[in-house]
């Protein structure tokens, strides 16, 4: 199970050759080889220099074959547990023979000198090399896997925060915020009671926006009643600014009040109605938000009587964002139909699965 998880996460970032990492590994291998040579010298009493040449030639060969081979077998460097084990055995056997030949060459001995030693001694050395190779492979690979897993996790986190920031930006539109503050500034001097009420609305609206952007986990706890309350905050703020040009109705039947919805799902749609429908119109218009229960569906409707727009609105309209959130919350079980017509207002219909006994 652990290896499977490791492989999945490790597969994400592609392998890159890093000279500093490779140099550090080579150093570790050289140190291990030296330790092995010291042990052999202590046990057998041969010359240390000779043992060093053998152990470095064999050890470095094993390392190069394993570390290079795993990237040949799999781009991420983790070819799977079985192939890795086979690779280790293969690398140890070939490098033992190859390394010995190279060492003999260096020492000026007959090429196959050390291999024709007493079979028991050769087997012992091979086993020792196998153990060292296996341990080294495990050590280096697991460290690389961990680093890759950390990279993948950081990448996922970065994407999540980018998505949150986008949601926040779309909902905290600076133009709306500064205009609201400008109105508030006027009201403080002329109508403190209304200013206080407006400030409270702004408070609730900001809190809801920040909460919604922080986590989608609050989905399930955010009810339609909450959603409509936040829409009312927003519309009341806009009503102070637009005066009689903005008229609205929010129609939420009592039996639907406790249905859960993703927080501020409808807000971008209402904002569209104002920004693209009512604000450009001299006379303004009316916004209607309603909800109903149809069979197994919860149907939400946002419509306006503003200037309308082309049947295919330009991207950046916030519609794709609403669709994405629906798809995240109810994969394959929710949809949005959107109609627009020049001069005929717009209408968005959202169909969500009905939640029984919420």
């Amino acid at each position: 199970m652990a290896t499977k998880g490791m492989r999945d996460t490790a597969a994400m970032p592609p392998f890159k050759f890093k000279p500093d990492v490779t140099a550090r590994r080579a150093l570790v291998v050289v140190v291990v080889n030296t330790v092995i040579a010291l042990i052999i010298t202590a046990v057998n009493g041969d010359a240390l220099a000779v043992n060093l040449v053998y152990s470095q030639c064999i050890g470095l060969g094993i390392w190069m074959m394993i570390d290079g081979g795993r990237h040949v077998l799999h781009p991420s460097g983790w070819p799977g547990a079985w192939r890795m084990a086979l690779l280790v055995v293969f690398a140890v056997l070939t490098s033992y023979v190859g390394g010995s030949v190279v060492a003999n060459l260096l020492l000026g001995r007959p090429l196959l000198a050390s291999l024709s030693n007493v079979p028991r001694a050769t087997l012992g050395f091979v086993l020792m090399s196998l153990a060292a190779g296996g341990f080294g492979a495990y050590y280096f690979t697991s460290r690389a896997m961990l680093a890759n897993a950390r990279l993948a996790q950081e990448e996922a986190q970065r994407q999540a925060s980018e998505a949150r920031l986008k949601l926040l930006e779309s909902q905290l539109e600076p133009h709306m915020l500064f205009n609201t503050l400008a109105n508030l500034r006027v009201l403080i001097g002329t109508d403190p009671v209304r200013a206080t009420a407006m400030l409270d609305r702004l408070n609730d609206f900001l809190r809801a926006t920040l909460t919604a952007s922080r986590t989608e986990a609050s989905a399930g706890r955010h009810t339609l009643a909450d959603e409509f309350a936040r829409l009312r905050d927003y519309l009341e703020l806009m009503a102070v600014r637009m005066g009689p040009r903005l008229r609205y109705t929010l129609d939420l039947p009592e039996q639907l009040a406790r249905q859960p919805v993703p927080p501020l799902l409808l807000q971008p749609l209402v904002e569209n109605c104002i920004r693209h429908g009512l604000e450009p119109s001299l006379l303004g218009g009316e916004i209607r938000v309603g909800a109903r229960h149809e069979g197994n569906d919860l149907v939400l409707e946002v419509s306006d009587t503003g200037v309308g727009c082309e049947p295919t609105p330009t991207p950046g309209f916030g519609l794709s964002q609403v669709r994405e959130r629906l798809e995240t919350a109810y994969p394959g079980h929710a949809r949005m139909d959107w109609h627009g017509q020049p001069g005929g207002g717009t209408r968005a219909l959202l169909t969500l699965p009905w939640t029984t006994s919420p």
Binding site: P174, L177, N183, R185, V240, L282
Partner: protein, 267 residues
């Protein structure tokens, strides 16, 4: 200093507030009209000819920038053009352009100190103004043109150049090669695409079309008219000083607005 002003702001409370702040910052200023949309701003400004215009950027109908451009076109010859002060809550592109063009603007919420500085600058401008001199120096017009470009195109990347224009004709689509187009003319909700001897209508607004045209090939000569530069045969100035041009292959006379007349000075 005595002067008259017009305020164009669609939010009633903010219009009142600006008026109140101005009364404190500039007691001699008389607000002759306060309107809530761009079209009314143009109509009232032409009728009342105030000394200063306070124009909100985002308004129903025309934006403040478009209203200013239309006024530059329609303003009667000889009368001094008003000093412009744009008002905005948050339009990053517009503010950048104002800074670049040294055009006066105030940010909402309007703060007294900032407004006082603007008022001082406008007063200086009005004091230096000489009613006899031509109201439109090239610098003013160039500034307005630059603002319009900045205000129209908040697109970060340059869109690809148009090669063919697909236009629906009856049940089918006609592909008009860009090389044949002589004129793009805005007409209500459509844009007329004129070639030698034919005409099609497309729905893409002129301001979305403009960034997709090669600026060396197509020149804007009026708010609603873009012509092929190489097709211009002659430019004519009438008794009132208005420019118009004729194009090869088209019978019409195309008026050139004041804002874009600068490109037709003889070498």
């Amino acid at each position: 200093m005595k002067a008259t002003a017009l305020i164009a702001e669609d939010e009633p409370l903010l219009a009142q507030a600006l008026q109140a702040e101005l009364a404190r910052a500039w007691p001699g200023l008389q607000i002759v009209a306060s309107v809530g949309d761009g079209d009314a701003a143009v109509a009232q400004a032409l009728r009342l000819q105030p000394d200063v215009l306070f124009l909100d950027i985002r308004m129903p109908g025309q934006t403040g920038l478009q209203a200013a451009a239309e006024l530059a076109d329609e303003w009667p010859e000889g009368a001094p053009f008003p000093a412009l002060v744009f008002v905005t809550a948050y339009d990053a592109y517009a503010v950048e352009a104002f800074e670049a063009q040294a055009v006066d603007y105030v940010l909402k919420p309007v703060q007294p100190e900032r407004l006082a500085r603007t008022v001082q600058r406008v007063q200086q401008l009005l004091a230096q103004r000489q009613p006899t001199v031509d109201a439109f120096d090239d610098a003013t017009l160039a500034r307005l043109r630059a603002l319009l470009v900045a205000g129209n195109a908040p697109s970060p990347a340059t869109p690809p150049r148009l090669k063919v224009i697909p236009a629906s004709v009856g049940q089918g689509i006609r592909m008009v090669p860009i090389g044949e187009v002589l004129v793009f003319e805005a007409a209500d909700k459509y844009v007329r695409v004129l070639t030698e001897g034919s005409e099609v209508l497309i729905r893409t607004p002129l301001k979305e079309l403009l960034p997709q045209l090669e600026p060396a090939d197509f020149w804007q000569v009026h708010r609603g008219t873009v012509v092929r530069a190489s097709a211009i045969v002659s430019v004519h100035r009438d008794e009132a000083g208005k420019l118009s041009l004729r194009l090869r292959g088209r019978p019409e006379n195309w008026p050139v607005s004041r804002l874009y007349a600068g490109q037709f000075k003889a070498m």
